[in-house]
Amino acid sequence: MLPALKAVTANEQADLKLLGRIADWCERFTPFVALDPPRGLLLDVTGATHLFGGEQAMLGRICANLEGQGFAVRGGMAGSALAARALARYRSGSVAAPGDEAKAIAGLPVEALLLDPVTTHAFRRAGLKRVDQVAGRDRRELTSRFGARMVFTLDSALGATEAPILPRAPLPDYRAERNFPEPVMTEDVIRATLTELASSLCEILEKRGEGARCLEAAFFRADGIVRRIAVETGTPVRDPAIIERLFRERLDALADPLDPGFGYDLIRLSASRAERAEAGVADFDADLNAKREIRFLIDRLAARFGAQRILAFQPNDTHIPEYAFAAVPAQQIQETRIAWEKIRRPGEAPRRPLRLLTKPEPVSLLRAIPGSNAPHMRWRHAQRSVTHAEGPERIAMEWWRHQDPQPTRDYHRIEDAEGRRSWIFREGIPDREDFSAQWRIQGMFA
């Protein structure tokens, strides 16, 4: 219908975050900013309007400023929060003089009161479709039908009663910070501060039974520049020593070291992602302890060299040999349910080779397998005579991943006269698939 219209899936969390950022920005007008989600903000500007040239001017300035940032804004101002909300939504840009709230919102539809849908519907059905029609009813009549709360809401919208604006509550967050009256610059002080912050942060975490997966240290320079340093961990931690050590690794490895300039007046350590963590009781299980040690080592190495450079193998659930494993950042390794196959019976040779070639390489076979008298295999200019062979193991490619049909592979385990075992396959099933039968070697067993 509208070719220029682009539809994007709503992301409520992101919206809420954005609303918070706008609220931050609004704090320059008044410290009392309240969120009115999903997309409203309430500012208590009592006593602040004169700083911005009066009510109308202040409202205009806020709206214009936000519009300049690319937002579509509707705003209203009134002596009561509810009246202001109604004006913003239904008569943007207007200011109700103190005591005039009732008059200002009288002509608005009853929806402007932002009551619950059932009540709003009841008013409309009763023919009370404008605010003044509802306001004009006897309060006892309304109370007996909709309860005292609704009447309170109505009266506060009309400015008859006070409903205070509650400022934004601080987000539940794990953080510890230290203010310095005099900016600090020496490394010793900075490190000591970090240690101190780490232990108070861990204290909070301990209380909540959680551990940090992602930590951030923020260094606020006196001149307003902020430097943020983050580290991640593979398991939730709340051991101050570990945290401190991680930051030390990280700080030592920084390509551009911290530049305190004129000094920091605030250092903040926060856990931006926390997870449930078991109490750090010493484990007597040596295996578990060893595993934990490895994880801490991984964290330290990752903090020093970067998470992308500490890799580990992880099995992939697929039939295709070269995709059956992947190297992923070690911190992200999951204890997957998919284990490597353990179907080898005692005494049997392994089904998969110890070493895979990066790419299967062509070989030429001088006689088909399984043949009678030792066929020959030529690979990398060397000739070997095949003494034993087992197969085929037929593996078809994952058809849905490829544009064109891929040749099915018939794998054989072979052993040559010198006892070397290798893994070779033939591409394409004769008479069924349209490929020339090419033999390739993919790996060596020993």
């Binding site: 239904y90 519907h121 039908r145 994952e398 058809w399």
Partner: protein
């Protein structure tokens, strides 16, 4: 050539495991020249009849066919490896059925719970093939096993007893020792009947594993038998196999990993290929042939096994039937029995005797007798209306027994069409009962024949385009949106294909690789069985235990069972089946009869002489809303052209507006001949090929035009010289539209031979088109005749008792084509006063009241109020006493919850208290909430003081009407469109009266306005969508629009359907621009050229004060009261 028999076949009746139809396996096996093919689905025999039917059909074409073996693959919950079982003879087959039934009866729906102990109990006569599991797969029974533990099923009555988890796990590992022990255990019970099945699926260690099994088998002294353990018939099905595996596991292809097979080897392989795979063990291949030779069972050994309950002692069934027939003849033909009738009855009885099917008739008669008379001991006087439908109406015996209501002698219907010696099939009698009381009949059948001998047939639920495309798209990892887009282009849930056009309709590119793959797999998946469900009323009855003929599963309803086979399967194995169907119109007629008896003291019944001219006059004017069968748009436009004058005209009327005759292009020639515009002539072959009048007996009754299903069949035999076998094949191909391919093979034969014999090619083509159209929608003459009688009866009631008719129709909803709004509107047009729902006058049902002018008025019942519950209505009526004075009165005395009172107030049901909806609603709000604390409960309403309040603003009419629609789906005040008239007038959009009003009507309409449009005019018309109809596969859509002035019938040609599919399928309010088309009989259609969805206008209407706020995206608009969302009820759609 190597002789080989495949015994391990898993078809798609092992749901989401097999990827080929049973018939595909059979055909492929025949192609490879197999010695035998055995169907062995997982704990089921559901697919074997399909294989059997395909096999029988192929028998007619070739002599060399693989032997068909019927078996099952037993999957156990105790960790025992799968075992293929094949019965050697009929008794052994019975035991297999018992075994499976037992497993199903104790399992949750759709599952089967078996243990090795069960098998050992029933193993007699069964050949057992142990299939050692592969350690890397076949861990599939674990899920059910867990269920057994978790749900405590094991310990339930008749359960397998608890199975220690350890033993389960050991067995599952399938160590060679375990297998050896199992083999020995089986061998002890079934010496000489145990095998070890081995497969070569190219797993790398095939040879090694084979050696293990060779040793095990040798030690246990059982032979090895080769099988490819197949899942599909050709390797090309691997992709579909992967897809169904993913559907089953609930994963996408990318997540599937090793849950899907590593290669495509599990297909039927040519004997030569099998021999090469087993080159090291030719004895395993040879064993398959010996195995097949041991089996002497075929499904042909099931058949007639009719109950003999109804036969009194000392009489043969035939004698008893004859007694009943002559007795019935005296009732049907009072006075002297005409000789013709006597002759026909004697002839029919002779044939029945010869075919030994007297018990069949007696059983059906017994059921019908119950409906008519009730069980004597119960002494229930209330009878249930019933009438046989379908080909049974060809039988005079059925007529005299009271099974059907049509006199075949008078109608000149032929018994041979019902039962024929050649067809060797049991007769098929379907009986319609009142749909609300069908359950009583079903209960009677269970009482009389017992649960072990009576069960419902199954309905195989197949993948339809929509369900298939959804699931396949999910497997490919497409988002819900795209899947929905793909599915949105599919009309209804029916149809058998997904065309490129439909893909494009969903705004997707059919050439995109992923989309193309989705479409390809969807096409293959369509028609796959998905699960079994119970048939609505198809009963299977046997004389012996039913569970020895076919496995029986428990149905959802307590104490209900259904078998594993559907109707076609039952036909194929010739079991006794009777359809106990529910017909809404019979309920409606019954209710109308009761009302007429009560208010007008007249007694009517179905046995009417259909000759009242007033009734036909009414039908000729297409005044047929609510009348059975002829109320659809297409039928109503046909009525003025047909001008029916007698019952046979109605028979034709019913049969002619069907996909068959329409697609065959037979309608217009028939009408022209009827009107005398065209001379009646009979197509004839050239002289050397036969008598020129050979078709006269076939087509005489229908003026030389084939209209009925059996005429088409007769044409095939007479004009195209089909043998009876060929004709049978054609009939079967017609019956199952799924066999899309098969019908075309008949086409060349049919058309070719007719042309060869000198018929015009055009005529031959049209005849065949008609046969194709009959596919699933054909009407045989007898069926049309049975229906025609109901057309007459319902039309009679409408003509002479319109109030009772409308009332009965409303009380039988949902049924028929029209929503209550149309029924009410029609009643008012027939001068019936319709009164609003009222707490002081309405019951749950709609009722009749004296209208004070000597007639009857219709009082709407509380059932018309959306969301109001029947139990509230009952309480409301019970406590009404003289009358309710106030809302509080209702609340106090009837003790209705506040929710109910709000609904009543919203629906404006307090008019008799002189309070409108607005005032009562305001009053209701004042009542205490239901969840008030018990402490305050006693001070219910009466304690509240009277209050003096200012009057509320007056509710505008448009708002009342809108609220009426929201609560009742109709309004007695005005039509919604009235309030949009100004808007549409300003756009130049005409009203329905302007477009399609009756030009000749005197007086014009209420305003004295004449319609504006003439034939050929261009016009635009707006209205609420009443019905959408897409008859058959023709691609034309009929839409009925309604406004305050009447209705307009819109025709949308297929080309436009594609273009405006979204509007047509989605909109509630449409503006249609097009050309007006008037037929000579005054039927007006608007042929659409452009269609606009204006549903949004209705929402605008709900913005009752029209200066709607400009910015509403915030609070209120987003949180509409739920009732506000649906302004107008959905239209009714028919496919």
């Amino acid at each position: 050539m190597t002789a080989f028999a495949e015994i391990g076949v898993t078809t798609n009746f092992s749901f989401l495991r097999g990827a080929s139809h049973p018939q595909e396996f059979v055909a492929q096996a025949a192609g490879y020249g197999y010695t035998a093919i055995g169907i062995a689905d997982r704990n089921t025999l559901a697919g074997v009849v399909r294989a059997y039917s395909a096999h029988e059909e192929m028998k007619e074409q070739t002599d060399v066919l693989p032997k068909l073996l019927i078996g099952a693959r037993l999957v156990f919950v105790d960790g025992t490896p799968d075992i293929l079982v094949y019965p050697t003879d009929r008794p052994a087959y019975g035991r297999l059925c018992r075994l499976l039934s037992e497993g199903k009866l104790r399992a949750p729906k759709g599952e089967c719970l078996l243990t090795l102990a069960d098998l050992l109990r029933w193993q007699d006569g069964l050949l057992l093939v142990v299939m050692p599991p592969h350690p890397r797969r076949d861990r599939t029974s674990i899920g059910l096993q867990e269920k057994v533990w978790n749900d405590g099923l094991a310990d339930r009555d008749g359960g397998p007893g608890s199975i220690p988890k350890e033993s389960f796990e050991t067995r599952l590992r399938a160590e060679p020792d375990e297998i050896e022990m199992l083999l020995k255990q089986l061998l002890a019970a079934a010496p000489d009947r145990v095998w070890l099945g081995v497969s070569q699926h190219m797993q790398g260690d095939d040879a090694r594993r084979f050696e293990t099994w060779r040793v095990v088998a040798g030690r246990a002294r059982v032979p090895l038998i080769a099988t490819n353990d197949t899942l599909y018939h050709r390797y090309e099905r691997r992709e579909l196999q992967d897809v169904v595996t993913c559907i089953r596991e609930g994963v996408t292809l990318n997540e599937a990993g090793r849950r899907i097979e590593a290669n495509a080897e599990r297909h039927l392989k040519a004997p030569q290929e099998m021999a090469e795979l087993f080159a090291h063990a030719p004895e395993a291949i040879a064993e398959t042939v010996r195995f097949a030779d041991r089996i002497a069972f075929s499904l042909a050994q099931l058949k007639y096994n009719y109950p003999d309950e109804p036969v009194p002692k000392g009489k043969t069934p035939q004698q008893h039937l004859e007694d009943l027939v002559w007795q019935g003849a005296r009732w049907r033909y009072p006075g002297l029995l005409p000789d013709t009738v006597r002759e026909i009855l004697e002839k029919e009885l002779a044939l029945i005797a010869k075919m030994e099917i007297a018990q069949y008739f007696l059983t059906v008669h017994d059921i019908v007798k119950f409906a008519r008379e009730g069980e004597k001991e119960e002494g229930k006087a209330q009878t249930i209306l019933c009438q046989g439908r379908g080909s049974a109406a060809n039988s005079a015996v059925c007529y005299t027994l009271g099974i059907t209501s049509i006199d075949p002698v008078q109608m000149d219907l032929l018994f041979e069409r019902f039962v024929s010696e050649e067809r060797k099939e049991p007769p098929d009698i379907d009986v319609d009962f009142e749909h609300e009381r069908r359950e009583e009949v079903i209960q009677y059948i269970y009482r009389r024949y017992g649960h072990h001998r009576a069960a419902l047939a199954a309905t195989v639920i197949h993948y339809r385009p929509r369900s298939a495309v959804r699931e396949v798209a999910k497997v490919f990892g497409l988002t819900e949106d795209i899947a929905a887009d793909l599915a949105s282009g599919v009309w209804g849930s029916w149809g058998s294909n997904l065309s490129d056009a439909q893909v494009r309709q969903g705004k997707l590119d059919p050439f995109n690789l992923v989309i193309a793959r989705v479409v390809k797999c969807t096409r293959e998946l369509i028609g796959f069985p998905r699960h079994l469900s119970q048939h609505v009323g198809g009963f299977v009855l046997t004389n012996d235990r039913l569970d020895e003929c076919v496995p029986v599963s428990p149905a959802t309803m307590e104490n209900r069972h259904f078998i594993e086979w559907d109707k076609d399967d039952i036909d194929a194995v010739r079991m006794m089946k009777v359809d106990v169907l529910g017909l809404g119109m019979l309920t409606c007629i019954r209710k109308a009869f009761d009302l007429i008896k009560r208010y007008q003291n007249q007694t009517l019944d179905l046995n009417m002489t259909a000759n009242n001219p007033a009734v036909y006059e009414m039908l000729q004017k297409a005044d047929a809303i609510g009348v059975f069968q002829v109320e659809s748009r297409a039928q109503m436009s046909m009525l003025p052209r047909m001008q029916p004058e007698n019952l046979y005209d109605l028979v034709i009327e019913v049969a002619i507006v069907r996909p068959g005759p329409i697609q065959g292009g037979m309608v217009h020639p028939y009408l022209r001949r009827r009107d005398g515009i065209e001379t009646v002539e009979y197509p004839s072959p050239s002289l050397e090929h036969g008598k020129p009048d050979e078709l006269i007996p076939v087509l005489k009754k229908t003026l030389g035009i084939p209209l009925f299903q059996e005429q088409a069949m007769k044409l095939a035999m007479v004009a195209a010289k089909f043998t009876s076998t060929e004709a049978n094949g054609l009939r079967r191909a017609m019956a199952t539209f799924r066999n899309l391919g098969t019908i075309n093979t008949f086409k060349d034969k049919f058309v070719g031979r007719m042309i060869e014999r000198g018929y015009e090619a055009d005529f031959a083509e049209r005849c065949f088109k008609q046969i194709e159209g009959f596919g699933s929608y054909g009407f045989p003459e007898s069926h049309a005749a049975s229906f025609a009688l109901l057309v007459y009866v319902s039309a009679y009631i409408k003509r002479f008792h319109p109030a009772a008719f409308a009332c009965a129709l409303l009380n039988s909803q949902p049924m028929g084509f029209y929503a209550p709004a149309e029924i009410v509107r029609d009643a008012r047009e027939h001068d019936i006063e319709v009164r609003h729902v009222d707490v002081n006058f309405s019951a749950w049902d709609n009722t009749l009241e004296q209208d004070g002018k000597g007639g009857l008025a219709l009082r709407l019942g509380l059932r018309q109020v959306d969301g109001f519950q029947e139990k509230w209505a009952i309480e409301l009526v019970k406590q009404r006493g003289n009358r309710y004075g106030t809302v509080g009165d209702v609340a106090r005395r009837a003790k209705l919850p506040k929710r109910a009172l709000i609904i009543l107030a919203e629906a404006d049901c307090f008019q008799s208290q002189n309070k409108d909806r607005r005032a009562t609603l305001w009053d209701v709000r004042r009542l205490a909430d239901d969840d008030a604390l018990p402490l305050f409960a006693h001070q219910f309403v009466e304690e509240q003081p009277e209050e003096e309040i200012a009057p509320l603003p007056v509710m505008p009419e448009s708002e009342h009407v809108l609220a009426d629609y929201q609560m009742l789906r109709l309004s007695l005040r005005a039509h919604l469109m009235k309030f949009l008239r100004g808007l549409f007038q300003s756009e130049g959009v005409l009203s329905c009266w302007d477009v399609s009003g009756d030009l000749k009507a005197e007086p014009c309409n209420e305003e004295g306005k004449r319609p504006i449009c003439k034939d050929g005019d261009s016009a635009a018309c707006a209205g609420i969508v009443l019905t959408r109809q897409m008859p058959g596969d023709a691609g034309v859509v009929f839409i009925t629009l309604s406004d305050e002035t009447g209705i307009t019938n819109v025709v949308v040609w297929p080309r436009l359907v594609e273009e405006f599919r979204r509007e047509i399928m989605g909109a509630r309010l449409l503006v249609v621009e097009g050309k007006v088309q008037c037929s000579s009989q005054g039927v007006v259609h608007l042929v659409a050229e452009r269609i606009v969805d204006r549903t949004a206008e209705l929402e605008r209407l709900s913005e009752d004060d029209h200066g709607a706020p400009s910015f509403r995206s915030q609070g209120a608009a987003r949180h509409h009261h739920p009732r506000n969302v649906r302004v107008v009820p959905k239209s009714r759609d028919f496919h």
